[in-house]
């Protein structure tokens, strides 16, 4: 017999009133050619048409071993087991949870129950957020925080009721909690259906292909410009900008490939960790040193740079060049030196929420044994607090890239394509509660060969 195609399942979470039913109806009306089953845990705010709707009361089944990752949703197992007995299979299943639902057991049901996982594939978790009320909800309940932490897509709904600035702040806050998620703004849950369905977010083959930059690490600087310089005196000029000071590291012998930029970015993280040296306008900036430029005075100001040999230098700056109209100028000729290459980085933010994301990116190979030890330790101690994880690894001695994803302690990894000419590196993202970033980073670094 042919292996049957698994039926994709999307989980819709979000507080009562966030617009789940509106989104459901929207999906159903746009996908009207398909057979869609909806499993609801709370009676919708408005009616749902054109689909089989099954009301099921949430039933959480814990296991005697006490393991949180074995906790599943009995109501889903029951309803889905019945649905799969139909000869005409459904094309899609949507599960609408209550605003108070813990997404962990819902997701785990699709991995822990073999009857279910042999017939259904969890496609993604979509969380609706009411832009107007989110501030009250986020601080107050674990559930709303966890629903964001688990989400593959956050639909920031009812944006017409919030200000543009407020929305930016909310988006930043959501992104701090979950850096894997995609944020889509909507007024009346009017998002394109393909932004919420058929995401294959739990599929190891596709998750990375679609969004290869989902785990961009955070840096203490936002912008880098690389310049070609000769033995001469230069100045770096700033117009008036939004801040009275700016941190900067100038690297010497800077390469111009993106991987060179990333290598030196790691170095600069260490420079940035050192105390900054305060520099006033018209003073000289030392190389490879964390400096803080004093920009408090009005108007344009400049700082000196003395170059003793031909090379490229890299400016790793706390703010983007645009914000201050940063220019490198040759002192003799007063000529503006154009940047050879520029790039921006995901800047670090203050983490107020307990729930956050950690991204680790490291070149090189890891030792499989050390990694296994470290991962089982992390998952053993912190598995309850780790909601989702994703990434890829370069295992020493293996020509293939390893991709992985996980929910709590459930961990799924497999070899993917061959590295070939690609630079071998590792990217990991953990989303969870009260995770110690330094400790995780250090633990992973110790696994490197």
């Amino acid at each position: 017999m042919n292996a049957p195609q698994k039926v994709p399942v999307t989980i819709l979470t979000g507080f009562l009133g966030s617009g789940k039913t509106t989104l459901l109806n929207r999906i159903l009306s746009e996908e009207h050619g398909k057979r869609i089953a909806v499993i609801e845990n709370e009676y919708g705010e408005v009616g749902i048409d054109q689909a089989l709707v099954i009301d099921a009361e949430e039933e959480i089944f814990e296991m005697s071993n006490g393991c949180i990752c074995c906790t599943v949703r009995g109501d889903l197992i029951r309803v889905l087991s019945n649905l799969m007995k139909r000869r005409d299979k459904f094309d899609y299943v949507l599960v609408e949870t209550t605003g108070l639902a813990d997404p962990g057991p819902v997701a785990q049901t699709f991995f822990m129950d073999e009857d279910i996982s042999s017939e259904y594939a969890l496609d993604g978790i979509v969380t609706l957020v009411d832009a107007f009320h989110i501030d009250q909800q986020l601080g107050r309940s674990d559930e709303s925080t966890e629903q964001i932490a688990f989400a593959d897509v956050v639909v920031l709904n009812k944006t017409d009721l919030a200000s543009g600035e407020g929305l930016d702040e909310i988006e930043t806050r959501i992104r701090e909690m979950n850096r894997m998620t995609k944020i889509v703004r909507a007024e009346n849950a009017d998002v394109p259906v393909d932004t919420v369905l058929n995401l294959s977010a739990f599929n190891l083959d596709q998750a990375l292909e679609r969004r290869p930059t989902f785990l961009e690490p955070e840096y203490p600087f936002e912008w880098t410009g690389v310049y070609s310089v000769e033995p001469e005196n230069y100045k770096i000029q700033f117009d008036e900008g939004p801040d009275p000071s700016m941190s900067l590291v100038i690297t010497t012998d800077q390469g111009t490939d993106d991987s060179d930029l990333r290598d030196n970015a790691e170095k600069c993280v260490r420079y940035y960790a050192e105390d900054e040296k305060s520099i006033l306008p018209d003073e000289t900036i030392p190389m490879n040193t964390h400096v803080e430029l004093n920009l408090a005075s009005g108007g344009s100001k400049s700082f000196n740079i003395i170059i003793d040999k031909p090379m490229h230098i890299g400016l790793y700056a706390q703010h983007t060049a645009e914000e201050f109209n940063i220019q490198l100028i040759k002192k003799g000729s007063n000529a503006v030196v154009p940047a050879v290459i520029e790039r921006t980085w995901v800047a670090q933010h203050e983490h107020d929420d307990e729930v956050g994301s950690i991204a680790i990116e490291k070149d090189g190979d890891v030792d499989q044994e050390k990694l296994n030890k470290w991962l089982s330790k992390v998952l053993g101690e912190k598995g309850i607090d780790i909601f989702r994880m994703k990434g890829f690894l370069s295992i020493s001695g293996d020509s293939r890239r390893f991709v992985f994803q996980g929910v709590h302690m459930l961990f799924d990894a497999k070899p993917d394509r061959s590295w070939d000419d690609m630079p071998r590196r590792n990217q990991l993202v953990f989303i969870g509660r009260n995770l110690d970033e330094d400790e995780m980073r250090k633990g992973f670094e110790e696994c490197l060969v």
């Binding site: 017999m1 009361e57 197992i77 029951r78 019945n82 007995k85 129950d113 073999e114 009857d115």
Partner: protein, 341 residues
């Protein structure tokens, strides 16, 4: 397939329903076979030749879920997603009684062994009715949806849900015994004397209790959920699914604790249904890939494969005819296949 070399089971008759054949049953003499399908249809077939006696479509809105044939009279009951229990006259498409139990799925229905009572579960409650359909008693809410029900030979009703099995007096509904276990119990098998109750559990284990002593134990290590369970007629052997092999535990002597089970190997995928015959140690097992195997376990505990059958899709349920001279298999594609044994 090595079905040929093993000897194929001899097909008596087979028919295909409109949708997945969910649940069925033989009448006491084996003259008729009743079956419900996922689309909510009911069909009654001649047991010997498979001729359709009558069929009705859409008797349960949303789909039927369960059926139970009366142990001696020519009637049977069906339940469905419409929350209704219907008692049917077996020979004519007439309903004897239609009971609206409530809103929700009525997932289980079962006649007591003497046929005087009928129990049906809907969500967290179980209702018990007289043979003519008058309500006798109903339970208060269980702690979760009732997963399965079964009558003992002493007229008690066993109910299972997350965390417990309860034994209730069939006539009064009073609680006789409650056995607790922190896990989701999905199926029940009772030994013929009703002393041993075994439950398939969500955590891929089989949990069992000896009711007289209250002692319990569990068998774990199954790769899949062991939902399919069956005791032999003497209550000495328990066959369990939960893997590609049918695993048979021997309860004689000090067993099964500390003993190794028999592993009946043939199927290439998870076993979805298995059932001991009514009068001997013959076992029939059905698989996710549609294979059906007939086994015999000798008095010295040695298994022999007697024959193999194949149906169109996942085997949903298996039913021995009361005289053990035939076995019926229901499958996902709506097939009803009967082999003569």
């Amino acid at each position: 397939m090595n079905a040929q070399s093993l000897g194929s089971l001899r097909t008596g008759w087979s028919v295909t329903l409109d949708d997945c054949a969910l649940s069925g049953g033989w009448t006491s003499e084996g003259n008729e076979f009743a079956v419900v399908d996922a689309a909510g249809g009911v069909s009654v077939f001649d047991g010997k030749r498979g001729d359709l006696i009558w069929a009705k479509k859409n008797v349960h809105d949303g789909g039927a879920l369960a059926t139970s044939v009366h142990p001696s009279k020519r009637k049977f009951a069906t339940t469905g997603q419409d929350g209704r229990l219907i008692i049917w006259n077996l020979l004519e498409p007439d309903t004897e009684k239609v009971i609206d139990i409530g809103t929700g799925w009525a997932e289980n229905v079962s006649w007591s062994q003497d046929g005087s009572l009928i129990a049906a579960s809907l969500s967290k409650t179980v209702n018990v009715y007289s043979a003519s359909g008058e309500e006798v008693w109903r339970t208060s809410d269980h702690q979760s949806t009732v997963s399965t029900i079964a009558w003992t030979n002493k007229g008690e009703l066993a109910t299972a849900c997350y965390g417990q099995v309860q034994f209730l007096d069939g006539v009064s509904g009073n609680l006789i015994q409650k056995l607790e276990w922190k896990g989701s119990l999905v199926s029940i098998a009772l030994s013929s004397d009703s002393d041993i109750v075994a439950c398939g559990s969500q955590d891929n284990s089989v949990h069992f209790w000896r009711r007289s002593s209250g002692n319990d134990s569990k068998m774990s290590g199954y790769p899949f959920k062991p939902s399919a369970l069956s005791f032999n007629n003497k209550g000495t052997l328990l066959a369990t699914g939960g893997s590609e092999a049918a695993t048979v535990w021997n309860f004689e002597g000090d067993g099964p604790e500390g003993t190794s089970p028999l592993e009946l190997d043939y199927h290439a995928d998870a076993i979805t249904s298995l059932l001991f015959s009514n009068h001997s140690n013959r076992l029939v097992s059905g698989c996710r890939n549609g294979t059906v195997v007939l086994w015999e376990i000798s008095p010295n505990n040695t298994p022999t494969k007697l024959g193999v059958g194949q149906v169109a899709d996942t085997v949903a349920e298996l039913y021995w005819r009361p005289d053990d001279r035939a076995v019926a298999a229901l499958d996902r594609q709506g097939g009803v296949t009967v082999w003569r044994i």
